[in-house]
Symmetry: C2
DNA sequence: GTATTTGCAAATACTTTGCAAAACC
DNA sequence: GGTTTTGCAAAGTATTTGCAAATAC
């Protein structure tokens, strides 16, 4: 874990990352809080938020803003497309589709492009 | 205005829509509140929120979630790509680039696709 | 030993909601 | 006249922050 900086390896940080990497569900901060709490019952929600923020700004995980009011988190930092169910809010990865780096090249703008984010809305098989 | 439903034409609603259509800045609810307040000093922020919600669910305007914590609004309901400055938060339209409907067709998923949203991050000329 | 991190609780930021009065058609 | 909409204020939801104690290195 610790590719950069003065990021100390605390049990909280380690467990947060382990739990996040275990799932493919793109959990919200409070879902992750419940997951981590099973292993570290005294962890606080503030610690979850602080670490998710830190880990994502270090590029170790990624934040996913998917329509809902709550931020979601993805243990896979590699850019990829997400699809969000408009009915149940579930967020899934899209395994194949357009390459976001290629999309960037098609954009006509006077901004200096940094990244290109694709969020698809749809209805999941369960809904 | 009033394409559908029992949407009454109140001064508040009319001015909110007029002000939103006047600008290309994708204002937040409170920015729009200030704009509307110049013409209707007694308008309340709650009314702004309620109308923006209504107008967007009727497809008359659109909500734009652009990285920041605040929702932004676009008087142009036609789907198009937005670009958001990571430095100042400004949101602009992308005038030409990939067609989002075409992108949808490239997506490989077991969801039933409804729409495809592209949000580009970059640095604006001013920053 | 010292800087970072934690838990706790309070604070913040944005948005939504309940309700009675006002306005629209 | 009846239903929708408004203003106001209070509540709600998600997230951030201050601080002293605890911990990592």
């Amino acid at each position: 874990m610790n590719p950069i900086k003065n990021l100390r390896v605390t049990p909280q940080r380690r467990v947060i990352l382990e739990e996040l990497r275990k799932v493919r569900s793109h959990p919200t901060a409070d879902e992750l809080y419940e997951m981590v709490r099973k292993r570290l019952p005294k962890v606080s929600l503030g610690t979850i938020y602080r670490n998710l923020d830190l880990l994502s700004s270090e590029g170790i995980i990624q934040k996913v803003q998917a329509g809902n009011s709550q931020m979601r988190f993805d243990g896979n930092p590699h850019p990829h497309i997400h699809i969000c169910c408009t009915n149940c809010g579930r967020v899934a990865d899209v395994h194949s589709g357009p390459d976001t780096a290629a999309l960037c090249r098609e954009i006509d703008t006077d901004f200096t492009i940094l990244s290109c984010n694709v969020l698809v809305y749809g209805v999941c098989p369960e809904c």
